[in-house]
Amino acid sequence: MTDFDKMSRRDFFTISGKAGLATMVASAVGVNFGMVQVAEAAVGKGKVTPFRFAILTDAHLFSQPDHKFDAMLEKAVNDVNNMKPLPDFVVYTGDIAQNGKDDQLQKGMKILSKLKMPLKVIPGEHDWYLDMGAAWRGHFGNPTWSFDHKGVHFIGMNSILVRDFWTKAGMSAEERMGVMEMLESPIAGPWGVREEQLDWLKKDVKNLKSDTPIVVFTHSPLWDYYPRWNFQTEDAPEIRGILKKFERVMSFHGHVHQTVYNKIGNMGSVGTLSTSWPWPYPDVKLAHPWSQMNRSDPGNFEDGEGSQYIDLESNFTAMHHYKPFGEMLTPTMKNGFKI
């Protein structure tokens, strides 16, 4: 568990303030990341107190003022703020920015600061590769974190790490970012969380009992969905291996901009709706085709986007609800589905 989970809000801003001016801006706009309440030693089977959390993701904000994606993120924030009951917290699963620019991250923070509840954030590739995460870290701190809440152990990791393709090629920061912005880029290769985070994960869960409910957030899926578009995480098998001792693990990921569910062993994986645009489904046979949403209407800019919330029950089952802006859910998914 990261240290800042044990800090008060004041402590957190004191520490993160040392990261520089960018973080001071973060404080100024009041983003309440790192504020999830920690319920120490309260995890384990039968100890889950039912609650709701929500996920926002993939806003892909541009620098341009009054861009339509700004309004879409604001709409999703408003939707979450009007949920009944309110989610205990929100997790943002990556890609606040489109081109990794600090002004884009700051714009996202300003919009997300309107959330009524605490926020936790992990990065996506669009947030990261202009400055290798410097601005993102300045705003949000460590991209690898965990916390306990009402009997559940939550984990967030940075899954968009690639091998260095830019140094030998002599690429500028902008060129490196450009490569990563292209979904089907031939250059970057597969993403992963890599050794350091795998070691961290081993230590993080080492002392947890096997009946501990686990929820893990990454930007990319922890299963081999469609590697060409990095709908995968290269070291997902290692992550699943570390987490296989647990009776049940829930995985939520961004990046795919679509509804999708999969299950491998003890891990159920759920893809999330973005607030920017829907990605098409790749030519892959889904094990759970019912989780595929309808084709979005290109004439309706809001169709195919939205938010999602999860209601966790006392026995650590969960009802996942997509909350789209438009009518794109199949009847099977309209009332949510069990993970």
Binding site: Q64, P186, P227, R228, Y281
Partner: protein
């Protein structure tokens, strides 16, 4: 059938049979239509257009967008562009439209850019890329109510940016 039509059909048949006989009797006239070098040059010309289309698809022509969006944002690998389903009725255009009209709609509406000349080389390149990525798909004009998919491309490395072709990996 009128007498005139019967006459035209008969003359057509006679001409065809005569031409076939001439070719059969003179095999030298039935040469391969193109040499290997000519075919390679044609393939290169095609792939040059496909590659140019792929670049345009991913935002290399600034006039195609004013809000930063490119075709590739919603259509990676030209997925869900469904070129094999055109011409078809487009509800957003209110008429049966060819692919190029839909391309220009996407440029003007979601991307808020300037439409391409429908007869220009850039539009040909855009279409070349979309069709090339859907090669082998069944042609089904008018059926796009279900999402269709591009040719599957295995591997996470994708195709080379400055490569020899599109849609396959080295």
């Amino acid at each position: 059938m009128t007498n005139n039509n019967r006459m035209n059909v008969a003359m057509g048949l006679i001409t065809s049979v005569a031409l076939f006989g001439l070719l059969a009797a003179n095999p030298a006239a039935a040469r391969e239509p193109f040499t290997k070098a000519e075919l390679e040059a044609q393939q290169k010309a095609l792939l040059d257009q496909v590659n140019h289309g792929r670049d345009l698809w991913h935002g290399t022509l600034p006039s195609m967008t004013t809000n930063g969006l490119a075709c590739g944002n919603c259509h990676p690998d030209a997925a869900a562009s469904n070129p094999q389903t055109f011409p078809k009725y487009q509800a957003n255009l209110g008429k049966v439209a060819p692919l190029r009209d839909m391309i220009n709609w996407c440029i003007m509406a979601p991307q808020m850019g300037k439409a391409l000349d429908v007869n220009g080389d850039d539009m040909i390149a855009m279409e070349a890329y979309a069709f090339y990525m859907h090669r082998g798909k069944k042609i089904e004009p008018g059926l796009a109510t279900e999402q269709t998919k591009p040719v599957v491309v295995k591997s996470g490395r994708g195709f080379p940016w400055k490569g020899s072709g599109v849609g396959y990996d080295k």
